[in-house]
Symmetry: C2
Subunit: 160 residues, 2 copies
DNA sequence: TAAACGCGGATAAGTTATGTCCACGATTAG
DNA sequence: CTAATCGTGGACATAACTTATCCGCGTTTA
């Protein structure tokens, strides 16, 4: 049936952060969207979320745009994912153990439900993995995969 | 904005498996739904998915119902989650690196996108955590939390 | 033979995801 | 000063998904 899925905006946001980490000045939404071949108006929404989360700062006006607020090695992939997806855990316990003819006692319910504990632990493992990788790490990966001249060309294109 | 979330059916399915691990015979959907205070018709859908995934087997007819196909210590929480949520990863790479004015070269694209690799690694960590816990483990947790008589009462109620 | 049960398909309401569009204020180039 | 560029927030629209409900069918048993 339905699968647990991450918003598509996460992919956009991470790639945008990598580009921003290589830019020399503020980059407008228009440029980021054009560079990635994606919707400008929708990307704008996601960039605003990054802004609200404090990962990027915006400059209004004629030569405005976005820039990272911190060095790229201080922004983790988890930061970006949480900024887009929100802070709520993927699993929400509805306490069904308290339902039905044999509800769990209030005493037993002082601890979170065992199922919930397992799910939260798994999500912590997931978050830990995403916290281990920074935007700077991803930039290095791109350089390795696509060649050392890649970001030079990106900067040239951004200057156009 | 939107958050990555797991289907509510996962919670139901896990709790049902714990109950099934303690049952002495096949348990019908009706009983499982009543026990958990949840929708019978909708739960039926999820149980059918567990059946298709091979985690439970069904008996049709007058005294039918569901039972686990394997010992509870050979069914992991991950098995149940994947049965309900599907096998597809939460993150789907749309290869936006191939878009725009500076697309990644076909050579560079032999490897998966770096962003994708990070996301997949995180999901593997998540799966590994869920694979560490079995339905039998959860049953032990319930006994610890709610007392040693809990499942005795459950079996009594199921026999009603 | 009737009641209890699982199975699969059709259907539908509510929510979320994915965008689009516009009015507004800020900034800057000419 | 005026145009053009840019971010911001809100309203709006549509497709997809979640969360169910219901029905007819075949199976099994009291």
């Amino acid at each position: 049936m339905g699968d647990m899925k991450m918003s598509g905006g996460v992919e956009w946001a991470v790639h945008c952060c990598v580009v921003l980490s290589q830019a020399e000045g503020p980059v407008p939404t228009q440029r980021l969207a054009e560079f990635h071949g994606i919707s400008r108006t929708y990307l704008a929404k996601h960039l605003q979320q990054l802004s609200r989360a404090g990962l990027v700062s915006s400059t209004e006006g004629r030569v405005g745009g976005y820039r990272l607020t911190r060095p790229a090695d201080e922004i983790t992939v988890l930061d970006v994912v949480l900024a887009i997806e929100g802070l709520e855990p993927a699993f929400r316990c509805t306490e069904i153990r308290q339902n039905g003819p044999l509800p769990a006692s209030p005493t037993a319910c002082k601890r979170p439900c065992g199922v919930n504990r397992v799910m939260q632990a798994a999500e912590q493992a997931w978050r830990a993995a995403l916290r281990e990788v920074t935007i700077a790490d991803l930039a290095v990966t791109v350089t390795k995969d696509a060649g050392p001249q890649t970001f030079v060309r990106v900067r040239e294109w951004l200057a156009t």
